[in-house]
Amino acid sequence: DVKVTQSSRYLVKRTGEKVFLECVQDMDHENMFWYRQDPGLGLRLIYFSYDVKMKEKGDIPEGYSVSREKKERFSLILESASTNQTSMYLCASTVAGTGLYGEQYFGPGTRLTVT
């Protein structure tokens, strides 16, 4: 079974802190994604990566950055956390060969609260 893991299930940070959310997948997937999920808004794409050291902005990249130094690991960084970044963050990866649109495997999510 494909496994996508995220470093924390729950995280509480203060406004202005730098926050790192880590995601690891164990199936050698090429493409990895970070979404945020808010009640009533669905999943919104923050950033994605189609290869090591490659990254592309999604629909809502402002206030975020990403890092992909190894194929299995994709990190989401909040440079200076703000209260409007309180959300559920979901990482996903796609099966090799299906492109960016293919079936995505999701991690369990990290619920981040910024106070």
Partner: protein
Amino acid sequence: GESVGLHLPTLSVQEGDNSIINCAYSNSASDYFIWYKQESGKGPQFIIDIRSNMDKRQGQRVTVLLNKTVKHLSLQIAATQPGDSAVYFCAESLTGANSKLTFGKGITLSVRP
């Protein structure tokens, strides 16, 4: 997550009945569609997909129907069980190299015992 379903439309069905969850997609050019299920406290999980060259596709206890004329997608669950209670999302995409999935807001399915 646990609060995802709070602001979503809810479909309530009796255990054992069939469920039909509907989705209107936005892009008439989309040619690939997926249904996801998200249980409380978990990430979304793939259920079934369909390409635009098909009108219907069946899985185990689930059927997806695609009506391209009216940009409508539906998920039918046969003999709904308590374990089917979750938020269901449709997602659409173009099958081009740089295309990405666009997710709908989701519908909460609640199964009455």
